[in-house]
Symmetry: C2
């Protein structure tokens, strides 16, 4: 029963049932949120933005983003294990680049979203 987790009565049983039938499976939803969780840190987001432009080594990323090599390396490990970046070793340097076509697309739409959002906000402000 849902009763033991939801203190209130189920008001619209039909709605709940309909949505339940159309909901995606648990696992892909979990995977999607996991993907977004990785995107949801500004350091990693900046790294992805940088790597969208050009392949870079750890040291250059570190300099570009004004962060310690260690911090960058730790974050790269997270991006690597999420299969979002790939590493190419050349001598003692390691070059990183984006490993997926979707990433750029998702980021583009997200940028559109926040840009329009800001425009909307400024309109609201100018009206008040």
């Amino acid at each position: 029963m849902e009763r033991d987790v939801c203190q209130c009565n189920v008001i619209h049983g039909d709605v709940v049932q309909r949505v339940q039938k159309q909901m995606p499976d648990e696992l892909p939803i979990y995977d999607v949120s996991e993907l977004f969780r990785v995107f949801g840190d500004s350091t990693r987001a900046r790294m992805i933005c940088a790597l969208r432009i050009e392949e870079m080594c750890v040291c250059d990323l570190s300099a570009l983003l004004h962060m310690t090599q260690s911090a960058i390396s730790h974050q790269l490990r997270i991006l690597r294990s999420a299969r979002l970046v790939k590493a190419r070793k050349q001598g003692r340097e390691v070059y990183y680049s984006l490993d997926d076509a979707h990433i750029g697309e998702i980021f583009s739409i997200a940028f559109d979203h926040v840009t329009e959002e800001r425009k909307g906000e400024s309109n609201v402000l100018s009206l008040s």
Copy 2:
């Protein structure tokens, strides 16, 4: 100077400079990562998936997702303050629905991504 945060020398000054010029501004990157951070929780992701299908009240969401009304309400507050859902009050019930066209699009691509990712993984496994 970048030297004080990056222990190593800047190996490719030209690359760093090029990327620096093409990088998006700090603020929109922060906003984008903030957006993803909100998506990056499986409870909120499930709520968004549900609301993509149909407008729902708090109680129904609570029943659908097997979570307490309080937990759902707290998460709705986060989604609301990120302007991702809008609320419509009718009597003592509050109906929530998605407040943005981009959300669905972003989720669709993300679902494509994780689906292909899983396919790729199973290929890798079948080869080993």
